[in-house]
């Protein structure tokens, strides 16, 4: 696998790039006068170096928000700014690494020539293009598909081609909409590794996904959207959101009869497995320490729901 290498312009950057949604609203109006409010009073700041997840049910407005950010849609109210400039101006001057939810590439183009085209539009020089195209082909395992037409690619390979074009240049902003959609488990894991390697103090990433587990692993914060509104912004770290998680599945290797002494409310959930309810991580740790001190041998402690899943259910009214 190729290592993630910066292009030449990576070292020429200094200004902080912050993405700011200011009271953004988007209403779609039909010719018959019907209107649909896709996004409503949405305000959010995404800091430089941050990976922000965007989660929400189907039709929540995630893709609309991304289209507003890229300037493909004009907001009905409010503004979207990147680095203090209107978002579209920023994109036209600097470009953004973008993987859309639907990977739409002319089906008659060949995989490699698609990348050469996009590299040209991205502003890479004639000398850089072959190296950079080779690099993303190698990074995303597209070598055997390089001469295939886009229409001949499987869904997973098409998704990888979409990701490859987003990584052609060493962008400071990456926007990935449902990035693992259609990828098999091996490439889903590889994608997570790639995102991990892409994390950099001057690079901002937005990842929209239905997959809360993925966002929990990758993002620093997750904006939960429902019906076009920002419901809440959740930090994915356990330390600050401990009260959100109250139920854990405890699995013991031995000392089953000691569980109720340490966790009075423990409920048996299977052989050696118990569901325990606590008020905080501190209480959880103290009870586990108590159990170990009494001679219990713990195999695993797993939250019933992740911090994000718990917050998501509360935010969209499915607690």
């Amino acid at each position: 696998m190729a290592e993630l290498s910066p292009t030449r312009d990576a070292n020429r950057r200094s200004t902080a790039v912050v993405i700011e949604f200011k009271n953004v609203g988007k209403t779609y109006k039909s010719l018959l006068g019907n209107s649909v409010q896709a996004v409503e009073e949405f305000s959010l700041v995404v800091n430089e170096g941050e990976i922000l997840g965007i989660a929400g049910p189907n039709g929540a407005g995630k893709s609309t928000l991304i289209s507003l950010m890229l300037g493909y849609l004009r907001p009905t109210t409010g503004t979207v700014e990147i680095g203090g400039r209107p978002a579209r101006t920023y994109v036209e001057q600097n470009g953004i690494g973008y993987l859309s939810e639907l990977v739409s590439i002319n089906p008659k183009w060949k995989a490699e020539s698609t990348l050469v085209r996009f590299a040209t539009l991205a502003g890479l020089s004639e000398e850089e293009i072959p190296h950079r195209v080779e690099y993303v082909i190698d990074l995303l395992g597209l070598g055997e598909h390089r001469d295939k037409k886009v229409k001949a690619l499987s869904k997973g390979n098409l998704q990888r081609l979409g990701l490859a074009q987003a990584l052609l240049r060493d962008e400071r902003i990456l926007v990935l909409d449902e990035p693992t959609h259609g990828l098999d488990p091996v490439w889903t894991q590889r994608f997570r590794d790639i995102v991990g390697e892409l994390r950099r103090s001057d690079r901002t990433m937005l990842i929209a996904s239905h997959n809360l587990d993925e966002l929990q692993r990758l993002a620093d914060r997750v904006a939960i959207i429902d019906r076009g509104r920002l419901q809440r912004v959740v930090s994915t770290g356990y330390e600050s959101a401990a009260p959100a998680v109250t139920r854990f599945r405890l699995t013991l290797a031995s000392g089953f009869d000691l569980v109720h002494a340490a966790f009075p409310s423990a409920e048996e959930a299977g052989k050696g497995e118990y569901d325990v309810t606590v008020q905080s991580i501190q209480e959880l740790n103290a009870s586990i320490a108590n159990l170990i001190a009494r001679g219990g041998l713990i195999a695993s402690v797993v939250p019933e729901r992740s911090v994000l899943e718990q917050q998501f259910r509360e935010a969209v009214g499915e607690s």
Binding site: D9, G95, I105, F118, A122
Partner: protein, 245 residues
Amino acid sequence: MTGRLGKYSLWQFRDFFMQHGIGIAIIGLLWGYTLLAPLRAAMSAQSPTPLAPGSPIWGIVLQITSAVVSVSVLIAMNGIVSSDRKNGYYRFLFSKPINRVLYYAQAFLVYMVGVLLIMAILSALLRTILPSFNIGYFVMYAALVYIAMGGIGFFLSVATRYDWLSLAAVWLGSRMLRAIYSGPRAGWKGKVVEILPPVHRLDDVANSLIGTGSAPSSDVAWLLGYGLLCFILGLVLLRYGSLAD
């Protein structure tokens, strides 16, 4: 670092050739050959110089060649902007550091070069059976039609999803409405049709431009002005409108 749009024009030219150019060339060849060759053979038997401007057959040659130009422009404009929007290709294209107004303005020019090149090749072939046919004059006429008709087509491609269909409707509709509502008795309807594309001026322009290389300047100005105005309106709509639905 901004995108290398100029360099990308080579890809746009390739797209034009693959998606439109081959079709235009085939239609032009088939139409021209099947209609003109037998006609020439028949007329040659009657007169030693049947194909000079002003001869009876010249009118038919003009009709056929000008129709080939109009159909070619119709094919060229098919999906020039709307295809990227309908199919979602704009998403990756315009995440790159390029200006979409310049991108499509460049596509319009590249397609024009493509259409003129094919018209030059077709007219060179036509010259082998009609030696008096002037390639330069014909290409000039094709350029005029490309701007006049293509400008409207470009605007429609930005504004609607059914560009070639609406361009054909506008083009034919203008002709028909002008034929019905012209003259002093037309009243307000006559005034309304005045703002429709000046398609009716093309017949005279075709006759004089393809035949002699010159045309009434007011007709040329109307046609060019109307097409350019629509082209610029299309660019303004691209600049201030939304690409996504």
